[in-house]
Every structure is written in structure tokens, then in C-alpha cells.
Symmetry: C3
Subunit: 341 residues, 3 copies
């Protein structure tokens, strides 16, 4: 995504003094026509099939001596109906300082654990083709935390680490808090990522607590094709039964450039739930045609098959067909445009 | 409304490459002091008496070969209390491609049918003087649709067409969908517009379905004065009774420039409901004084008279006096300032 | 707070004519780590410890002859969780005209009465160290009004006046309306402020009506230190009992510059409620280190002691400990960063 830089002249309210600064207004509008068929079928308009539609403001101030102050506020857009519920900045709202030591940052943001591994989903965890591994609704996983203090290290020989602590803000400090760490290694064609995180009670999925996740992934770019894979293992406790439940998923993907502007991508996802033995397989196929660095047309086809009573649904599908279905199968197709500014 | 163009330098995140682009931040703040008298009277502050208060972001990217990518996200402001309910982008949220073929656009926007004819209301369908012909609360008409795919033709010898399809996103495709077409002809002093649209169930007015509208209008600018007129015929089905109801309205107006910066405008509206024979007449008188191209002072007086049990109220009046009243009469006065940026 | 000026070229939609104008995008992101101990203790992330986090847009248009059109829309940010409830413009939404006569402005804004005196709280009425004198939750006072027409005089020899009238927009004009006046005198090291306002029923604190406030304050800058003080006396009627209640509070403060970039500040607040004789004392100590004109690190410690059954809590504390506690004591500590753009 390219960013638009608004040239700014920061004017001291007292008058003469003038310094250079910058605030960046940026965003994405991504909308598609979609068709999803499960037990029933629905066609309509879907948001964010290739990248999450968003509007954000961010800035960097040079404080001297290599120190910088940085802020970001970024909210999601739903262009099909004009941002139902109103604009907020729940994608990211942070302020921090950065320098040779790395970055220290306060506020709501994606976690380092999620960032380290989610980048190996070729569908960018959006749209019908996305993996469900981090789908909050279907796995209880939260990829962001409120009230988070984060440290992001500088890169040493391609190696970097991020550490997050999200306050629960309860009398008992343990309640609702988030803790996690993510490590990445990027060197030429090779990329590796590893994450661990733990969320205490107060989770997205009601009736559960102590969600712990191990995840790792990697990719290698051979030039003619890029191969990617990740594995995610989440455990949580069901409060009513006291049982531990595990959600294991893995994904393998391949991306092939087509001409100067095209990309074909295909992924296979496997999901397994421990307690009832439910399973699902998902196959996603996509094509992206870049009309420029900022604008692309894309098409995605995804197929999901539930087994043994599992009840997964394609990511971002229409409400009516997002749940279970008799046949255990779901097909999805979307064709859209993504424009970044 | 003038638009403010923010000069932008789009910076590739990878570094050196730099291209010219533009994102426009624009808006209107329009606030007035108003007095409305029906059975009771209320004075206070009204929004959007001359133009709808709004905040928007939009941009165009040149893709080469005459092709452009375009986006708009625009939300309404309520400056009297600071946007109660929060900022959304429900006025327009679209992304599309345009070129010599016209424009294809996805998302929420005004419909072509509404755009083709509503432009003949001299009060711009806002404020106390506005026609009630398209008032959603009072007629069930919706001038925007969610989930809409739109085609807007280029202009051929002053003639243009827009076609809209809004997905209902239900299992039964017919439910809640929108379909419409608008045609316009603009040539020198003459302007004509024609629209047809159909909304299935899931309408703004509960208990009704299958709202169909025919509408047409026109204007001629004689220089010393501009004459305008439109006619709108809406039919819908009352689910409980199965009866068809029709709402017929027409409007005639005249606008006279006064000096270099002033405009006097007057309109007469007639409304008629088929099922109970209710009727209403409305007379609106306005003056706009342009202090610049962006800023204007304005005053509006409107008088509405209900007959035969009709229950119309002036557009945008205070809540307490917006309904029926014993005398069947309503007077409204507002004086305000409109500032576009 | 410095403001960022976006250089804009206003383009007439008709083409050639081009005029200079400006829209300013500005804001603050202020986030801190806090610890508050009352009966229980909570640690977590707090917003706006040094300045209220916000995002705003404003502009000025020169209309010639010294006349200007001005608008502001400004909303609060909650960076710890990304603006829960969505972005609105409830901090300020106004449009107005200004010139040699002063400014006339319509919309929602801070009142002149509040502005005249609140500036003598060294903690800027934000964060744990803030005075509670104007805390809406704890005193029923409203420092803004909807539907407000305001006149702000130019400065004559350091003297200025602001007058506000906020429509209640009810059939009975008296209901829910706001009226107030604020006067200020600023001359070299001396600053004085005086305010009176009256809010009829429809107040923030349910079950009360006719809230009347007298307030005055002042400061003197000796160079090595600045001394500040204010007094506020609010009376309202409890509807159920018919009793008049008074809330009296005073504040004294001292601010001492430390080096080129630092400021130490200390305040003492005394609160007294008439009807039950409840009282509270508050001591606040703060340090602000300015890393630049736009960015600061800060730390605040505050101590509050309730007596005779009073139930005050530190401003902006976590929900769980914001109420009363057995010991009647509350301690608060916060360390954060404020970045203005």
C-alpha cells in the first residue's frame, strides 16, 4: 500500500518560527461483488477482499539525536454501506518514541505475535480466501489489544523482536490482560516468523479463558514462485466444562507472478478442533492484477469443507451463509477493486 | 461548492520513486437559527439550511490510457451538536474506474434517478424550504442505496444516463434490492431530467413494499430569471391492507439573481396522497447572499398547509413540531451561514 | 499545542480562478500508564493526561474588508482503545464570521464562562491531577453547550468578553437552555477571568435543575514561578426535595520552570458540598518535560481525601476505582507522552 504524504508547514502559534513536519493521510477503499453458496446462497457486495478498507492519519516528528515521536490513528471503512456504526480508530491508535533502541509505543494495535506469522497467509487474512486461523469470531483469537505497551526492536542482521503487554484494567491484574511476543527473520528470499501469546479471561469467545497460542511460519521466494507455510496451535479452557480445547491449523501457499502486473496465488488450509474432533479443509485461489502500485483488480475463489461436525464458514462471507450448513460445504467467489491512497 | 485540493506527493514505501497524486479533503459547515410554528412553536439551531454539512475525502489516480481510479468517502456533519452518533461515510462511499466508457462504481451513493430530477428543487432538498417529494421520513423514498453497482455514461451532446443496481444481500435476491435509472439532458439554458426506480421490500417506511417512482423535471435559464419544475409519482403497496398507495407531488420554482452576489428563489409544492385523499401545499421563499464562492448568508421562509387529514411537516424542522398539528398549518423561518471548504 | 497547516490551493470547479485558502488538520495523541489506588487498585492505560487527545479540521477564509469566515470541527480521541463509540465532533463544531467587531459563531463549543476561569487549573482540567471543579460527572456542570450562538469580543487593552446562548429547542424555551458570559483581562504577567452561567433543567446530573455558577480566577507570572488561583460557586435545585445545593471549590497552584524544557507544577483543591457538609481536599503534583514544542513526557501524582461522607474521585481514573471508598482516600499516578500534530 502506498501512502500519501501531505506536505505540511508546521506554524508555531506564536508566529515566526517554522519547522518542517509531516502528517500523512492515507487509506484503502476495497470493494467487491461476491457470491457465497452454503446451504443457501447470497450475492451482494463485500468489503476488503484484497486489503482492509481504512482511513488513517499518522505523523513523525524528528526530535533530534535520532529520536522521533510517532503517532497513528487508523480506522476501518465499510464502503458497501458507508461505515455502519461510524468511524473509529480501532485498527490502530498509538503514540510512541523511536530511535536506535527501537520503538516504544502505547495504545491499541496489532500484536507482534500476530504480525510475525499472519504475513504468511497469501490472502492477507482478508476476503473469502483468507485463512480462518486468526478469525476472531471462529477461533476466539484477538489480533489486537487495547491498553497495550509495546516494544519493537530494531533489526539486527534481519532479526527483530516485538513484545506486547496489554493491561486488563481490572482490580485483579490478571483479568483480561494480554501478553505476547513475536520474532521475525528476513534475509533475502528467506523469511521466518514465530509468535507466542496469552490472553486471560475476558476473551472474544464467551465462556472461555486462558487462550494460549504458539504459531510459526515462513516463506521462500524462488523468483518464479514463492512458497509459504504456517502453523498455529491455540489452546483455551472452556469454563463450563473445565476442558481444555485446542485449535490446530496449518496453511501452505504458493504465489506465482504472471507478467509484469499479475499474481496468481493458491493456498490450502487445514483446521482441527480437539474436543469434538471437528475438522475442515479450505482451498483458496486468487488472481490480482495491479493496474498501478495503488490500484488493483482481483478475483478470489474459495472452497471450504467441514467434517465431523465442524462449523467453519468462509471469512467475511454474508451474514446469512456465514454459519453451518447441512452439506458442510461452502463456496465463495468475489471480484473487486482495491484502491490505496 | 468549491473543493479544496491538497497537493500531495505520493511516496513509495520502498523509497525513491515519487509520483504526483491528489487527495481532496472537502466539506461544508452550514448552520442556522430557526423558528418553526405549527400547533406549538420551537426556536433553536438547525443544520444544513442551504447545503448539507459534510466532511469528505476523495481522490483520483491516473492509470494511463485515459483510465482513472476514483474514490470518495463522505459523511454528514451536524454542527449544532457536533455530529451526534459519530462520523460515518453514509453520504457516499464508493470506489470505481472511469474512462472514455464512462464510470463504473461500487458502494453507497445517491441514485441516478434521484440525481436526475432532485436538482430542480431550488432549495437543494435541504432546509425548511426544501420540497418534501424525496423526504425519506415522509414518503418512504430512499435517495441512496447500499451495496450498489453503478454505471454513469459519458455525456453525448449533453445527454447522459446512469444505471444503478443495489444488492439486497438476502437469500431471496429480490428482497431489499434497489434498481433505477436516470437520464439527463443539459444544453445551454435548457436542462431536462428523467428518473425511474424501484425498491423492493425492506423499505424505509415500515409496513410497505415495492416502492416504484417515476419522476421528471426541467429548467430553463432566461438570464433575468430561471424557471424550474418537476413531477414525481411514487406508488407502493401497504402490506397490511394489500392496497396500493400513490404519492404525487409537483414543484414549480423561479430563481432571480439580485446584483452580483444575491439570489432570490421561490417555489410552490403540491403533495397528494391517494388512499385518504390527503393533500398539502407548500410555499417557500429564500434569499442567498454569496459573500464569496465558498461562503454565503441565507434566509428562508416556508409555509405548509395540510388538507383532508394529511400530515406533512416542513423538511428538517425541530422534532417537536415536525408532525401533524391541529390547524394543519406550519410556518418556518431560518437564517444561517454556509461555509464550504 | 502547535497546529499543522496544510497548504491548500482552492480550485474553483468552474476552472481558471484560483485563490489561496487553508484548511488545518490538527490533533493531539496523549496516552499514559496509570495506577490508581482507592479501596481497590487498578493499573492500566489512561488517555489525555496532559492534553485531551483529539482530531480536528479547521479553516479560515478571507472575505475581504477584514471579514473572515471560520469553521472548526474537532472530536476527542481515546487512543488506549481506538476511540470507542466512534469519532464525533463534540469537542467543537462551529461556523462563524469574524472581523473588527469580534466573532459571531454558531454551534457546539466550550462556553466563555468556562474558558475564562478554567485556564487557571495548572493541569488543564485533564488527567489525574485535574481539578474536579468542572467535572461534569461529579458536579453536573457542563462546559459546552449544543445549539449555541456565541459572541466573542475583540481585545480592548487586554480586556475581552464572550457571551453565549444555547437553545434548548423545546416548546417551553426555558427548558434545557444555556446562558453564560465570561470576561478576561490579560496584561503582561497578570491574568484575570470571571464567569457566570446558568443552565436550566435538562442537566447532566439527573434530578437537578437550574444550575447557576459564579467563578473567578487569576494568575501572576513572577518569572521564577507563576501563581494561580480560582474560586467556583455552583448552586442547583434538587427536584425531589426542592432543596438548593451548593458546590464550592477553590484551587491554588504554583508552576516553576526547570531548565529550558521542564516545568514543575503543584495545586491544592478544596471542595465543599452544602447539603450534607461533605468535603474533600486534593493535592496534585506534576512534571512536564518538553522534548519539542509538540511533544512532551509528563508525570503526575495526585492525592484526594474525602471527609464527612463526600464521594469525590480523581478525574479520569479507571472506572472501578472512580467512586467512593471506605478510607475516603485515593492516590493516582500516571506517566505518559503527549504528541501534538
Amino acid at each position: 500500500m502506498k501512502k500519501s504524504l501531505i506536505a505540511l508547514a508546521v506554524l508555531a502559534s506564536s508566529g515566526a518560527a517554522m519547522a518542517q513536519s509531516s502528517v500523512t493521510l492515507y487509506g484503502v477503499v476495497d470493494t467487491s461483488i461476491g457470491y457465497v453458496k452454503g446451504e443457501d446462497s447470497v450475492s451482494g457486495m463485500l468489503n476488503s477482499g484484497n486489503a482492509t478498507s481504512r482511513l488513517g492519519f499518522r505523523g513523525v516528528e524528528d526530535l533530534g539525536n535520532g529520536l522521533k515521536a510517532e503517532f497513528v490513528v487508523e480506522g476501518e471503512l465499510q464502503p458497501d454501506d458507508g461505515t455502519a456504526g461510524g468511524l473509529n480508530f480501532k485498527r490502530q491508535s498509538t503514540v510512541g518514541l523511536s530511535g536506535s533502541f527501537g520503538q516504544v509505543r502505547l495504545g491499541r494495535a496489532l500484536t507482534a505475535s500476530y504480525n510475525a506469522v499472519s504475513r504468511y497467509d497469501l490472502f492477507g487474512t482478508v476476503g473469502l480466501g483468507s485463512t480462518l486461523a486468526w478469525n476472531g469470531t471462529q477461533t476466539g483469537y484477538q489480533n489486537r489489544s487495547n491498553n497495550m505497551i509495546s516494544y519493537i526492536s530494531p533489526k539486527f542482521s534481519g532479526f527483530g523482536v516485538g513484545i506486547d503487554y496489554g493491561f486488563g484494567e481490572q482490580e485483579a491484574n490478571r483479568t483480561a490482560r494480554y501478553m505476547g511476543v513475536g520474532a521475525t527473520y528476513d534475509n533475502g528470499p528467506l523469511s521466518l516468523g514465530l509468535g507466542y501469546d496469552k490472553q486471560n479471561n475476558g476473551l472474544a469467545a464467551a465462556g472461555t479463558e486462558d487462550l494460549k497460542t504458539w504459531q510459526l511460519g515462513g516463506s521462500y521466494n524462488f523468483g518464479v514462485a514463492k512458497l509459504l507455510a504456517f502453523y498455529k496451535n491455540t489452546k483455551y479452557n472452556e469454563i463450563a466444562t473445565g476442558d481444555d480445547v485446542s485449535l490446530k491449523s496449518y496453511n501452505v501457499g504458493v504465489s506465482v507472478p504472471v507478467g509484469a502486473a499479475g499474481e496468481v496465488k493458491a493456498t490450502y488450509n487445514n483446521y482441527k478442533i480437539s474436543d469434538n474432533g471437528g475438522k475442515a479443509n479450505q482451498f483458496s485461489l486468487g488472481y490480482v492484477h495491479n493496474m498501478s502500485k495503488r490500484t488493483a483488480l482481483y478475483g478470489t475463489y474459495a472452497y471450504l469443507k467441514n467434517k465431523d461436525g465442524a462449523n467453519f464458514g468462509l471469512n467475511g462471507a454474508f451474514t446469512g451463509v456465514n454459519g453451518a450448513n447441512d452439506s458442510g460445504k461452502m463456496h465463495g467467489l468475489q471480484v473487486g477493486v482495491r484502491h490505496a491512497f
